[in-house]
Amino acid sequence: MAPALHPTNQLLNGLSLSFFFFSPVLKKRLVKLVVNFLFYFRTDEAEPIGALLLEHCRISKEEVNVFSISFIEEPDRKYCFECDSEEQCQEWVEALRRASYEFMRRSLIFYRNEIQKMTGKDPLEQYGISEEARFQLGTHKQ
């Protein structure tokens, strides 16, 4: 159902995507993942035209070659992306799921917890950052 891709694919950061936002017309954009932001560019421009902050979002696999990003406060609104291949699509899905700061924070807390259970010591203590708010278990039930 998707229209044919533009024949000239430019690569940026090793990946290129086409996507459309709520319109049946597929717009070719260069997409770049930088920390927890997904920037998008017109193919011939150096400055991004927009960005998506990737916090509190869900990355879903849609039909072949397509994935979508939706946000917690508006779960029905999807930003869809069409890739060149299913493999590329999977790569992006994996990368985007791990792209949020909150995901990294949970990883850190997970490791900290595991190390503490295993060794009885808080691994952050030696760096003097164990009391930092950002590393706390917070509301996680323990």
């Binding site: 993942l33 916090e55 949970r106 490791y111 295993m118 691994p123 003097g128």
Partner: protein, 281 residues
């Protein structure tokens, strides 16, 4: 006059604003919060334009690598947002006491000068902001991942049945003689279902390859190789100094975002009006 302004706004950088506002205002725990006075940045196109420095008192909330500021503590939407990547936070020489600045690698990007109410507050903010970057978090995660591997190795060497040491992760409890089933913890999807749920990171595979230990979740993709530019000093804290790394194209993305979302819209308007007056456009 309005036409020009509208045109400038039309070239504005898009952002998923509603989601950003939601993230800023939802009850996910903030890494730091408090009142700060924010220096108002002005462009001076006229050499005879009298320079007055003024400050706005704003409510600041730090979440992850994002610093939001609000008109007031109970405002429903932030006035602006600063992405804390590729920046340094330092005390600054200023007429004001307890002033510090957030400066960016990109020379074109404006610095943010902030003033705290007292020395303790200033110190707490500088510390919190210095450790706010995504890169810093990634560094710490990598370090802990290494430590976890080391801990597992030494424990595996000490114990004969590593299976007993697996923690409270979900395991397939059927016949242990069967090859262990690879179980995935509930995908938490970038914080979609955060507080209240388990600590297991999304995407981690609980594959029992080495006798009962789950593989650590893979690291987020690297923006660029940090190389040897990061120094960890065990005694003096994880002092990650984001040094003069070359300005990468990625940083340029953020300066555009800062231009539109880092400044209060009133400032953008004033800037535009001033540039119009001086004949520059």
């Amino acid at each position: 006059m309005l036409e020009m302004y509208r045109e400038k706004l039309a070239k504005k950088m898009k952002l998923n604003e509603r989601s950003v506002v939601h993230y800023a205002t939802c009850d996910s725990p903030a890494d730091h919060a408090g009142f700060l006075r924010k220096r108002v940045e002005r462009h001076h196109h006229h050499h005879h334009h009298h320079h007055t420095t003024s400050y706005h008192r704003r409510w600041f909330i730090l979440k992850g690598n994002l610093l939001f500021y609000f008109e007031d503590r109970d405002s429903r939407e932030p006035l602006g947002l600063v992405v804390l990547e590729g920046c340094t936070v330092e005390l600054c020489e200023s007429a004001e006491e307890f002033a510090f600045a957030i400066r960016f690698e990109d020379a074109g990007a404006k610095a943010y000068v902030l003033v705290a109410d007292c020395h303790t507050a200033m110190e707490a903010w500088v510390k919190a902001l210095s450790r706010a970057s995504f890169d810093y978090m990634r560094l710490v995660v990598k370090e802990l991942e290494r430590q976890l591997e080391d801990a597992r190795k030494s424990l595996a060497a000490c114990h004969k049945s590593p299976r007993k040491l697996s923690s409270g992760r979900k395991r397939h409890l059927s016949n242990p003689a069967l090859p262990p089933v690879q179980e995935k913890p509930p995908i938490l999807e970038n914080g979609y279902s955060t507080w209240g749920s388990s600590c297991t990171p999304a995407g981690a595979s609980c594959c029992d390859q080495d006798g009962g230990f789950s593989k650590p979740p893979p690291l987020p993709p690297r923006r660029r190789s940090a190389g040897g530019s990061l120094y960890i000093a065990p005694t003096s804290g994880l002092s990650l100094t984001l040094q003069e790394s070359p300005v990468s194209p990625e940083t340029a993305c953020f300066s555009k975002l800062h231009h539109w979302y880092g400044q209060e819209i009133a400032e953008v308007r004033r800037e535009w009006l001033e540039s119009k007056k001086s004949g520059e456009l």
